[in-house]
Subunit: 236 residues, 2 copies
């Protein structure tokens, strides 16, 4: 029997800067709003505040804009039109402008992706476990475009304490036939669900997803488990 | 101030067959479980039960399997490997096997996509409004793969009473700068959120997403608003 999920925005976090202790700030914000983190919760934190806390802020070249940055942060350019570049990052993510973010950042500055976005998630998770005794999974989310469909959605770029892809192979459907669809990217669905309470303009950089199937909790990495081997990617 | 969302599985729906009145069955199931639909809810219903209720079930050719069906239902084949075909449907969706579903369907039979998936959503919405006086948005969801990332996620193939893509152009971020990311495909994020309480094997073909931003409610169509004009699609 499936039970309900709650998607709870973590409000009151305020501006985040280099060196800020995100785990403590988030733990405190959840306490203040009466929605303290609980065991089994998935805490979703946006890339932007993670990058700021990790001091991934850089100057934008006043002459060339962010283009030189995007090229530096890309291992492969997929497509280019005007100012927009779709490229693959070192992590293996394919996204616009190598994930470099100019919104919600001071003018003249840009926020790069975390160097190791799974490690970023792990650090937050470990801090919450060791300093506050709270055992939660952590997802770092970002906003990506995609082919064939208009509009951006949030996906995961890092996780800790969560199996990002749940394998339903071998289980049977309601009629006892083996399921064809086998692997569900729950980590991306969780990131998308969290975005619904964050908005882009409201300064809500974290959300709690409460009530996920406990069998999804465990070890995993977005870079290792979600980024596709090109040879295996029929959609590419 | 953002508020929380609840994602509530609609249990107790049972097997759906051709001609079944989905709106009534779902309204009754939500009442039985004490989670009656409320104004402002988004009701997410999976393609499978919509296709079954609309009698989109067909025989699978015993000799050629589902391949001939997939070709008939495709306007363009994107890629082919063994039994798997990635193709574009008449609606403009790019997905595996033209969205044809063999799981949770009797052996030897397959479920095609609804002919007009937005109309399917509209019919359920209209029935709920007129027969039960419940004003809810409706999303028809399906499970698609995507390039570059492993695992499937649920996306919307039809909607009614909901603006599928929310335009944040012109709004400013928390620092007063104009936002770069402008259009969020909330309809797909809602479909993904709903999937988290449905599972593939549990026979939960509907979920309520309660608490979405009321400004997202309104007119819209997945086929018209989400399917991208190829000329406009840098990711393709």
């Amino acid at each position: 029997m499936r039970s309900s999920l709650a998607i709870i925005p973590v409000t009151g976090i305020g501006e985040i800067g280099p060196g800020d202790d995100l785990a403590s700030i988030i733990a405190e914000a959840t306490r203040q709003t009466g929605n303290s983190l609980q065991e089994g919760d998935v805490l979703v934190v946006t890339q932007k505040v993670v990058s700021k806390a990790e001091d991934r802020l850089v100057d934008v070249d006043p002459e060339f804009g962010h283009k030189t940055l995007v090229e530096r942060e890309s291992v492969r350019v997929v497509r280019r039109r005007g100012d927009l570049i779709i490229s693959e990052t070192e992590h293996g993510f394919v996204c616009a402008n190598a994930g470099i973010d100019l919104s919600n950042v001071e003018a003249g500055r840009a926020a790069l992706l975390p160097v190791d976005s799974d490690r970023s998630a792990r650090r937050i998770r470990d801090a919450l476990t060791h300093r506050f005794g709270i055992d939660v999974a952590v997802v770092v989310s970002d906003t990506f475009g995609r082919p064939w469909r208009r509009g951006v959605t949030d996906v995961a770029i890092g996780c800790a304490g969560l199996r990002p892809v749940v394998d339903l192979r071998g289980t049977t459907d309601a009629l006892g036939r083996e399921l064809q669809v086998t692997e569900v990217a729950v980590v991306d669905e969780i990131a998308s669900a969290a975005e619904l309470v964050m908005g882009k303009a409201d300064g809500v950089p974290a959300a709690i997803v409460r009530g996920v199937d406990p069998t999804w909790l465990g070890d995993g990495s977005v870079v290792a488990d979600v980024v596709r081997d090109p040879a295996d990617d029929l959609f590419r």
